[in-house]
């Protein structure tokens, strides 16, 4: 019997984002270069310093059903919507429940449910606090509800690494399958942070763009005028599967989930290490894990949040690891369109990276009107870029407050 780690493949994709309520609509909007940002109509936004965000294109509540919506956080509702789409896309694998796992992350957990419950407590007293409050705000809520719906019994887990959480969930899922703990794992991230408190808190960290007069132009990775990220909400989910399991049931394979690289900065709680030292180590580790040479990489879906420091640190890391090959890699910053979905972002962008590999198209980076001279790699601008046919590797990077770095490598033969 072979003791080599098992090969992991991607057989299902799902997402609900500021650009669309599913994979086809989001992918079409990404290729069209559409922004999901808009001015917030809620009354609390009137007095906020940042009055715009990227809200989900489709409300999740009606899709999950009213009874379930009453007792789940909005982030969990996004997770359910994306997980159902991914599960259908994978052909609803008839898997032994004991061999089915779930790894679903959130950066902030059910923060809006917690805050709403606190409002109820203050305004109406403790007796009126919903008995569903704890399951709604616990960070493992999305994972638990998806696990319940699918009947997953190989382990249901939640990773927490701020804006790297969704990517770390995919990494954890890959390792679960490689180790033999599960044959199929539903993995991803979900986030619903558009609420006055997280908005004010991120604003006061100087993390958010303040371009209130032109929300669609606010998320502008690599542009000289970038001044922070734009908050977004939604979920991304992938169905990962051992290659043997997928082959046995004749499943269509989107890509190989080939490499994982996880490192940490040990530098600062919220600032990126400016030279991309540990980001480079993560990318190098993902390539080594995928047994891939720099020349095989055709596309990177970058973390690129549109912050002054972070965007450049990531490019420096890519240059360091890929060397001259970096000049032939099409780099896309899809947050220019989706905004930053925090704990969901790594999953949504993993879905996008796999779609780039499937369709051989790299989405554009919008609002890159006046590129920062220090962003000296090949950033895809204005319209989608065709990627070469044949064997190829794409990367997805995600980094989180706390200095968490996750690089994922997907491969097509």
């Amino acid at each position: 019997m072979s003791t080599a780690p098992r090969t992991v493949v991607v057989t299902g994709l799902g997402m609900t984002t500021p650009l669309g309520g599913d994979v086809p609509s989001t992918w079409a909007a990404l290729l069209a270069g559409r922004s999901g940002a808009r001015t917030l109509a809620e009354s609390w936004a009137e007095e906020a310093a940042v009055r715009f965000a990227c809200p989900a294109a489709v409300e999740p509540g009606p899709q999950v059903g009213r009874a379930l919506a009453r007792r789940t956080d909005r982030s969990t509702q996004f997770a359910l919507v994306a997980a159902r789409e991914a599960w259908r896309d994978a052909g609803a694998p008839g898997t032994d429940p004991d061999r089915l796992g779930v790894v679903l992350a959130s950066g902030l957990g059910g923060v809006t449910s917690l805050l709403d419950s606190y409002d109820t407590l203050r305004e109406r007293g403790p007796r009126r606090v919903s008995p569903h409050t704890v399951p709604m705000f616990m960070p493992n809520g999305p994972a638990a509800q998806v696990g319940l719906e699918l009947g997953a019994r190989a382990g249901v887990h939640t990773t927490a690494s701020a804006c790297a959480s969704g990517a770390e969930a995919v990494a954890y899922a890959i390792r679960m399958i490689r180790s033999g703990a599960a044959d199929v794992v539903v993995a991803g991230g979900a986030e619903a942070p558009i609420h006055p408190l997280p908005m004010a808190a991120f604003t006061n960290m100087m993390a958010l763009s303040r371009r209130n007069d032109a929300p669609e132009r606010a998320s502008r990775p690599y542009d000289k005028g970038r001044d922070g990220f734009v908050m977004g909400e939604g979920a991304g989910v992938l169905v990962l599967e051992s290659a043997e399991h997928a082959a046995a049931r004749g499943a269509r394979v989107h890509a190989l989930a080939a490499g994982v690289g996880l490192t940490s900065d040990a530098h600062h709680i919220a600032q990126p290490e400016p030279h991309g030292r540990d980001v480079a180590r993560a990318v190098a580790a993902a390539l080594a894990d995928a047994d891939a040479a720099p020349e095989e990489v055709v596309h990177v879906n970058a973390h690129a949040t549109s912050t002054p420091l972070g965007d450049l640190a990531e490019l420096a890391a890519l240059r360091q690891v890929l060397g001259h090959a970096a000049d032939r890699v099409a780099i896309s910053a899809t947050k220019s369109m989706t905004g930053h979905l925090l704990g969901a972002t790594g999953a949504v962008e993993s879905v996008a990276a796999v779609l780039s590999l499937v369709h051989r198209l790299a989405p554009p980076t919008i609002n890159l009107d006046d590129p920062d001279e220090r962003a000296d790699l090949d950033i895809v601008r204005d319209k989608p870029r065709e990627l070469t046919a044949g064997p190829a590797v794409v990367l997805n990077n995600s980094f989180g407050f706390g200095g968490h770095n996750v690089a994922l490598a997907f491969r097509a033969e």
Partner: protein, 82 residues
């Protein structure tokens, strides 16, 4: 036509059940069981109890909640309390 207090309470309760359990057309009788007929779990039952307290201005102590198995149990409690 006489409308009994019991009928008024039952009608209000049906409304609450339909709202909380999202069963807009469910048929409810006094022997309808929360767990077996309406798929209402223990957490949702507490949510329902709080809604009943609010609507009928009564108090249902937590240690009584476990005895509430049917629609009729709740109606009896409210009738006894008002």
């Amino acid at each position: 036509m006489s409308v009994t207090p019991q009928a008024i309470i039952e009608a209000g309760l049906v409304q609450i059940v339909r709202e909380i359990a999202d069963r807009p057309t469910v048929a409810v009788r006094s022997d309808t069981s929360f767990a077996d007929d309406l798929d209402i779990d223990s957490l949702t039952l507490i949510e329902l109890v709080v809604a009943v307290e609010e609507r009928f201005a009564v108090t249902i102590p937590d240690d009584r909640v476990r005895d509430l198995r049917t629609i009729g149990d709740v109606v009896d409690h409210v009738l006894g309390a008002v």
